[in-house]
């Protein structure tokens, strides 16, 4: 019997939860704020869905309702991607060691 592709995706999902669990426990507590801002930035990879939604359908009518939702989602996700990564970078630049 053939295995449903859903099971493969579910396996990836479950294994990723375990990877996330161990990786996040090893994050030093002083970097918990950058952790939140960077997880926020990477979860904006949902922009992938937004792009598909925006470009769906015929090219002569690109402003159907579903496309508009796609465009809106692109703006929201783009704010997050740029904002999230840049603010994380700004924070990480500030963490310095004692001058010897």
């Amino acid at each position: 019997m053939e295995i449903d592709p859903f099971i493969f995706r579910l396996s990836i999902f479950i294994l990723s939860i375990f990877v996330g669990y161990y990786v996040v426990w090893s994050v030093t507590p002083s970097l918990h704020t950058p952790l939140m801002s960077v997880t926020n930035a990477i979860s904006s990879v949902i922009i992938v869905g937004a792009i598909i939604a925006a470009l769906a359908g015929a090219s002569d009518n690109i402003f159907e309702t579903s496309n508009i939702f796609g465009f809106l989602a692109i703006i929201l996700a783009a704010v997050n991607i740029f904002g999230g990564f840049l603010v994380t970078q700004r924070m990480l630049q500030m963490y310095k060691k004692k001058k010897k």
Partner: protein, 464 residues
Amino acid sequence: MSANLSASFYLISGILFILALRGLSSPETSRQGNYFGIAGMAISIIVTFLSVGNFGPGFIYVLIFLVVGGSIGAFIAFRIPMTAMPELVAGFHSLVGLAAVFVAISAFLKPYAFNLGEVGSIKLASLIEMSLGAAIGAITFSGSIIAFLKLRGIMSGAPITFKGQHFINLLLGISIAFLIFYLCRTQSTHIFWSIVLISFLVGVLLIIPIGGADMPVVISMLNSYSGWAAAGIGFTLENTALIITGALVGSSGAILSYIMCKGMNRSFFNVILGGWGATDQISNSQSKEQKPVKNGNADDAAFLMKNASSVIIVPGYGMAVAQAQHALREMVDALKKNGVKVSYAIHPVAGRMPGHMNVLLAEANVPYDEVFELEEINNDFANCDVAYVIGANDVTNPVAKSDPQSPIYGMPVLDVEKSKSVLFVKRSLSPGYAGIDNDLFYRDNTLMLFADAKKMTEEIVKSL
């Protein structure tokens, strides 16, 4: 681009995201980690463009919107003050949530564009995944908006509770499950919209009963939700990058919530069900008898610290409110010139989000190897001459160790009272968030400095 090739690239993106989080295990590797994250994101976006392969006028619009959103994001990222980081993160979570809702709506309206079947006959599994993604996304959105308003001070941080609140939440939760079931049977657009609307309502109701100082738990929890929403959409789109990211973010937020709850010795449900100390705050302040308090000024404090050999600084949310981190750093520099050994002690729930104090100290150029977590430094208070408590309160309360009746009993606290003398900067004797009196104020070795945290610290710098 073939589906197999693009799937492989999405897998690479997912791995880069894992490396981005892995980098945060130490400040040295963290910046490199962030670049991995950016690379992963760039790969995902480019691969999506190539696999959709539609470079018509729509593509131009996508680029325009990408640039518009990106500029807004970059502008915010450069302008935001570090003290506003908790509300920024809450605001960003709301955007992820709403984006998830929009993508789900779009997929529901035009399922064939996502290979999910035709309108009215969407695949069952996809329907469940997208409605779950939409529901969690909507809860994340409205919940984060409430958290944002509370953190920004637009809405009062006080818990809002009413009778039957938990019952209503339960009822709404059940009705969402029920509607998803009916959506699968009927594929009705109305039901889909109802699920989204009810979820918005649930998000609001979930967050309003939670008070200001519990925000670290709320933000971490919403962080987790935004991940699960992304994963839900990832299953709908059959996209590996999104599934991996959703799982990572979801578990990251869950771990942070757990750490925050442990820092307060409370169960997750106790926090979520809300309203800690909101009721007995009044009775406590009335029954407070006038106990003697030693009151000092900046000169006393400067004298004490100058003659100390070691000083531990205990910052809290009050330091963030007063923006006192730069003044504090000047004070520490002056002390170091006098040969005083200075370190910082951070309680896990100090501030309004995980790691809040660390970021503020880093902003003020405090080297991170002078900053210690509770377990690392708690034994050092006994050998320390002066503890300088600036803007912290409940996390120093010795009652948590001695009085089983106290609501904060069992919460891990900093053993500030063990140091030879304690300098406590505070505007008044009012109780902290937990609504209980801090026993530390009345100890013989405590000197209260009644002033704004920033002004007092600046005055101490002057008299040093």
